[in-house]
């Protein structure tokens, strides 16, 4: 039986209690909204992309510890990174969550850092949607930013 300690790792609870990059960004930053239709969680991701770099990113909304901490860690991981690197991180994370759909190879050398703590979510399949909510919404926001 997968124990709760696999799910609720200390670093996850830390990001849940003290979210990083919580808030909003004004134009020219753009945003996208994501919903988890099963549980009602809502999230909005704001991105500011300049010269191919995600110069700033914020999130707000409400949801469970997994969706909120995952979004918080995501913002820390991608802020200041070039778009192609951000997309590689998204791909690596979705692959870790077993929901990477496209065929292109995952960059195995990428280090996900704190995000590795979310590995345990895979043992609780209904929670995978919580962990990936912010990430899918980020992709929508990047599309809105013309990326």
């Amino acid at each position: 039986m997968a124990g709760l300690e696999d799910l609720y790792r200390e670093i996850i609870l830390d990001h849940y209690r003290t979210p990083r990059n919580r808030g909003e960004l004004d134009a020219p930053a753009v945003s996208a909204e994501g919903h988890n239709p099963l549980c009602g969680d809502e999230i909005r991701i704001f991105v500011d992309v300049r010269d191919g770099i995600v110069t700033d990113v914020r999130f707000n909304g409400s949801g469970c510890s997994i969706s909120q901490s995952s979004a918080s860690m995501m913002t820390s991981a991608i802020k200041g990174k070039p778009i192609d690197q951000v997309k590689a991180i998204v791909k690596k994370f979705k692959s870790m969550m077993t929901v990477d759909e496209d065929e292109s190879p995952v960059d195995e050398s990428l280090n996900l850092g704190d995000l590795e703590a979310l590995q345990g979510v895979v043992k609780f399949p209904v929670r995978i949607k919580c962990a990936t909510l912010g990430w899918n919404t980020l992709l929508d926001a990047l599309t809105a930013a013309g990326q």
């Binding site: 609720y8 409400s62 469970c64 929670r127």
Partner: protein, 408 residues
């Protein structure tokens, strides 16, 4: 007579299952109920020894199947005190039953600018089909608001009903547990010249139902919440209204004649039962109806009032302000379905922790997003109790809740 819950629990095999060596505490019956052995046997006996088509063949096996199938219809008519068995229509679930009435009746009777009255505590199944008519016909929706303790605020009911063509409401809220005064609401609708549609999904499994005493025009509910199999819903309607209602789904069984240039419909109930129904499931629903009747719906209701009293008292005594239980505090005004917020812990996380103790509760918006917005939450945890649940299980819920605080 009070229920012998120990004996009842013996009838439900799944309640004896151990998961990780611990008993199951099933508190999700508002979502779907567990099944007694008699229902499982009815399903399996029919599948093993009696399976055949209904209505279409002369051979004995098919005639027996048809009798069993129609037997459920007759039993249901008696169970809800319907005047005539052919007023009972089988659908795939309550959602389809609601869509049938709302869309068929709405298309035949509503035009742009016509108004329907709903309430803030409706399930999506009694909202979205109306929204579809808003898009299709340009009808308008009006809403009965709620009081602070989760009852319908009927202060302005008569003016809300003015000029309304249909009043469609739940008999019991699947989120708040609130039991609505159905009889009074139907009478008010009729006085205003509106028809009354009652979503009785949460009420039929838990208390006696008398559609004539209610004075309702249409009533819908689901088999799977009343100890029967999934795959069957029920629509009851007044004969004259069903006769006037255009068919909903077209195909086999629902026709009198089909020609190259058109069709005529069959008599009730076939008119609304297009295609092959869930034959075995309908027959097993008959076993669920007699199971519930033998226990007595009034006794089930009494058990649930006792459960509600215990749950409300024990949770508030133990957790005080750390728990917010939505809905009426008077057990007479509610069913044993409790949505709650606990110590700021997100319902999803809460249900995950409860699962460690095999305590099954639902976390989410319960298909009532407009109501959730009014409650100021995007999700709640919901524990719902039925005829097989005990006070001991309510204590296990409370113990499991306590353990959630160790993590968050």
């Amino acid at each position: 007579m009070s229920l012998d819950v120990t004996a009842i629990r013996k009838d439900f095999p799944v309640l004896h299952r151990l998961i990780h060596d611990k008993p199951l505490v099933y508190l999700d019956s508002a979502n779907t109920s567990q099944k007694p052995q008699v229902v499982i046997d009815a399903l399996s006996n029919f599948m093993s020894h009696g399976y055949a088509p209904i209505n279409r063949s002369a051979y004995q096996l098919a005639a027996e199947a048809t009798d069993l199938f129609e037997g459920t219809r007759t039993a249901l008519a008696k169970f809800i005190n319907a005047p005539k068995a052919h007023e009972v229509i089988f659908t795939k679930n309550a959602t389809e039953a609601l869509n049938l009435v709302i869309l068929s009746w709405g298309r035949a009777n509503m035009k742009a600018g016509d108004t329907v009255l709903l309430t803030h505590m409706e399930h999506h199944a009694n909202i979205v089909p109306w929204h579809m008519l808003v898009a299709e016909r340009g009808i308008q929706l009006r809403w009965v608001p709620l009081t602070n303790d989760g009852q319908l605020d009927l202060t302005n009911l008569d003016s809300l009903l003015q000029g309304v063509k249909a009043f469609s409401f739940t008999a019991m809220s699947n989120v708040l547990g609130t039991i609505n005064p159905v009889q009074q609401l139907c009478a008010a609708a009729h006085k205003a010249g509106a028809i009354a549609i009652v979503d009785a999904c949460q009420s039929v499994p838990h208390q006696p139902t008398d559609v004539q005493a209610w004075g309702a025009d249409f009533v819908t509910f689901s088999s799977h919440k009343m100890c029967g199999p999934s795959g069957v819903g029920v629509l009851w309607g007044r004969e004259a209204l069903l006769e006037a209602l255009p068919p909903f789904l077209g195909g086999g069984n629902m026709i009198a004649d089909v020609r190259l240039d058109g069709f005529t419909t069959a008599e009730l109930p076939a008119k609304f039962e297009a295609g092959t129904p869930a034959i075995a499931e309908v027959i097993a629903l008959g076993a669920a109806v007699s199971y519930l009747e033998n226990l007595g719906m009034a006794n089930i209701r009494r058990h649930e009032i006792e459960m509600s009293t215990y749950v409300l008292n024990s949770l508030t005594d133990r957790f005080g302000d750390d728990i917010t239980i939505h809905g009426p505090t008077n057990p007479e005004l509610r069913g044993a379905t409790f949505s709650f917020a606990f110590r700021g812990i997100h319902p999803h996380d809460l249900s995950q922790v409860l699962d460690q103790a095999n305590v099954c509760v639902r976390a989410g918006h319960h298909c009532a997003k407009p109501l959730m917005r009014i409650l100021g939450a995007n999700a709640t945890a919901r524990a719902s109790f039925y005829l097989y649940n005990t006070q001991h299980e309510a204590d296990m819920l409370a113990d499991a809740l306590d353990s959630a605080s160790d993590i968050f």
